[in-house]
């Protein structure tokens, strides 16, 4: 029995955790419980990788096949993206799609069908995925692709581990000439300017914006847009940098309206004054928080919730303005907020992105936060949007079912393969799957 939580440290559950070293021992465990979920490095924020019986797949981190001419890789699903990049960046290969942390596993990237700063052009992680192998409830192992067991493929990409245990992945890497990224920053004094900037820079390979969610009125949504391109200069190997660690939980009062506001002020002005393109190592551009181990401790012992939603493009301006002003009215002050334009949705049943804008807000957990988030849920849904399952720790069954129109198709595939008799997480039970 261990106490375990996702990255947000909310909720915390007491449950069994096993770390098998052989496929046979995974298979054996499938008979032990009806609440099993596979997990990687515990980087999903809420309760999607929590269950009464958790199977941690991190010992399955081997490379099985690599073609240095084409960049096609087969690997086990427990390997982290950070481990992969450490091996392949020096050889001139990069992940075509990568999220904001490199500490997630390959299996997690598939199960959350993660998106990155190039979603507007390249889509979700499943776009670089040819196939994967999956241990289903019976203990059998199936290869799934868009042509083989296709329904299981579409259900598993973005399916939060609810179809089985992902064992291996067959993916396409992308050739790069340098480990450096050319980063250009633009400042926007208002949300409207930011959305215009996203529009104007649609062709930029990578784009993401930091947004000051405390600024109001004429400064509402002031932000720094960061664009990135793979650099053609600079080497493929980088000097090793030591990570810093946040050793203890900070006291809860440290992050408050004034400290966050001061930070935002500083961050906006340093961004505003950095107008020249600059060369940064790929980790600095893609994974700025990875250099601080245990950064969730910023939010204190109660943990935090990352509230990430998407709203359709047409509703974008109105919805974002409405939501930002509501947060302010309720006197909740998110720290580190990120806005990003999404490209079109894909075919996977539970993938999060849709064409529009996604905003991720980190809220320190407190008593008044949860009622506000319920209000925000209703607003997001009224604009035709939805919440990201990999971040979620609290949305209701109704919210989920009203915003993921293909949930019934997903559930049908689960029933067809008996997945519902084995694979159930704390999250899946909460949202009625």
């Amino acid at each position: 029995m261990v106490f375990l939580s996702g990255w947000g440290h909310y909720p915390i559950i007491a449950a069994d955790l096993s770390r098998p070293a052989h496929l046979a021992s995974i298979r054996q465990q499938l008979n032990n419980s009806a609440s099993i979920i596979g997990q990687g490095h515990q980087r999903s924020y809420g309760d999607s990788a929590l269950a009464q019986h958790m199977i941690r797949m991190t010992t399955f981190d081997r490379l099985l096949d690599f073609n240095p001419k084409t960049g096609v890789l087969i690997c086990e699903a427990g390997i982290s993206l950070q481990q992969l990049l450490a091996i392949f960046v020096p050889r001139g290969w990069f992940l075509p799609i990568t999220p904001g942390t490199s500490y997630i596993s390959m299996g997690g990237a598939i199960a959350s069908d993660i998106h990155g700063k190039n979603h507007h052009l390249k889509g979700c992680f499943s776009e670089c995925l040819y196939s994967f192998s999956l241990m289903i409830a019976s203990g059998d192992i199936l290869e799934c692709s868009r042509t083989q067991n296709a329904e299981l493929f579409y259900a598993t990409c973005g399916g939060m581990g609810l179809t089985g245990i992902i064992l291996t992945a067959h993916i396409q890497l992308k050739a790069i000439q340098s480990a450096w990224i050319t980063e250009t920053q633009y400042s926007a004094h208002h949300l409207n300017d930011l959305l215009d900037l996203f529009e104007a820079h649609h062709q930029a390979t990578y784009s993401v914006a930091w947004i000051d969610t405390l600024a109001q009125g004429t400064q509402l949504g002031r932000s720094i847009l960061m664009l990135g391109e793979h650099s053609a200069i600079g080497s493929l190997t980088l000097a090793k940098k030591n990570n810093r660690t946040l050793p203890i939980n900070l006291p809860i009062w440290v992050l408050n309206r004034y400290s966050i506001s001061a930070f935002n002020q500083y961050y906006f002005y340093q961004g505003k004054t950095t107008t020249q393109p600059r060369q940064v190592p790929y980790q600095t551009f893609f994974y700025p928080l990875d250099t601080i181990q245990h950064w969730y401790r910023l939010y204190g012992k109660n943990g935090f919730i990352q509230y990430q939603f998407v709203v359709p493009k047409a509703a974008g301006r109105t919805a974002l303005t409405h939501i930002l002003t509501t947060i302010h009215q309720y006197q909740q002050y998110p720290f580190l907020s990120v806005l990003k334009a999404f490209g079109p949705a894909n075919q996977n049943y539970l993938s999060f992105p849709m064409e529009g804008y996604t905003l991720a807000l980190d809220f320190k957990l407190n008593n008044t936060l949860l009622p506000l988030l319920d209000i925000l849920d209703a607003m997001v849904l009224s604009y035709g949007g939805r919440l990201y399952l990999a971040k979620d720790a609290r949305m209701s069954e109704t919210t989920f079912k009203n915003s993921y129109p293909e949930w019934e198709k997903f559930q049908r595939v689960r029933h067809q393969w008996q997945a519902h008799t084995r694979f159930n997480s704390v999250q899946s039970r909460r949202i009625g799957l």
Binding site: S18, P20, R62, L63
Partner: protein, 245 residues
């Protein structure tokens, strides 16, 4: 490029070390019991950059087959620059109380089969007049305690044997290293509750790869175990025996 033999190559610590050697472009020969796992690990190490990886699966308890296994690995590597012995297992606590054959079998695997391999490797080292051998023992071998005496005794036997060899090969190009890991978070210790003293196999692997470059007689990994074990070794019996250590 170094020619490296790894005995017990599917253990988590050995695999973590092998990855660093693969990354450095060394040539590896792997010995372990589980053939399926060996195939996967060999493939992985090749992709990570090893010059060449070969392997053989065998049951190490059959010590009469050791000579042949060493011959086999030599025909692939031709010489041994580095040898790492990492096999062994943790018998259930208090096994000696209820299953004597099982307790003795664990001693056979953890001590006798290890000593047997060491003999053959030393023979080869003497012929080639150089070589570095490291054997993974344990902090458990530093003092007999109630928790797992048969495991401690096996590890202590190996450690004392290594001390003798270190004496014998003092001032030669043959280096003998005793590696004593503390608590490591591996499948072997899956059942234990993990606290602050626990280290990841990757950390231990880094320490091992490093000590091959600058050989020492004995290292504790992580190094703070040197001080913990110093205290435990010097603790008077009348105090130690009142604890549950």
């Amino acid at each position: 490029m170094k020619k490296v033999l790894i005995i017990g190559a599917t253990s988590a610590i050995a695999e973590a070390t092998a990855r660093l050697w693969a990354n450095a472009g060394h040539q590896l020969y792997l010995l372990a019991r589980d053939e399926q796992k060996l195939i996967t690990i060999a493939q992985d190490l090749k992709i990570r950059g090893a010059a060449q990886v070969d392997y053989a699966a065998a049951d190490f308890d059959q010590t009469m087959k050791h000579a042949k296994l060493i011959q086999q690995s030599l025909s692939s590597l031709h010489t041994f620059d580095y040898v790492l012995i990492a096999h062994g297992y943790l018998p259930a606590a208090h096994i000696s109380d209820h299953n004597i054959p099982l307790a003795l079998a664990s001693f056979h695997t953890n001590a006798v089969s290890t000593l047997s391999f060491i003999h053959f490797i030393i023979q080869q080292f003497k012929q080639q007049k150089y070589g570095t051998l490291a054997v993974i023992t344990s902090v458990a071998g530093d003092r007999g305690r109630q928790s797992n005496p048969i495991y401690a005794a096996a590890k202590a036997a190996v450690s004392v044997f290594l001390q003798g060899l270190q004496h014998q090969f003092y001032r030669s190009n043959i280096h003998i290293i005793d590696i004593k890991p503390g608590f490591v978070d591996t499948p072997m210790t899956a059942e234990f509750k993990k606290g602050l003293l626990w280290a990841q196999p990757e950390t231990i692997g880094q320490g091992i790869a490093q000590v091959f470059q600058q050989p020492k007689n004995c290292i504790y990994l992580p190094q703070f175990w040197r001080y913990i074990m110093l205290i435990i070794r010097w603790l008077p019996d009348f105090i130690l025996h009142r604890t549950k250590l």
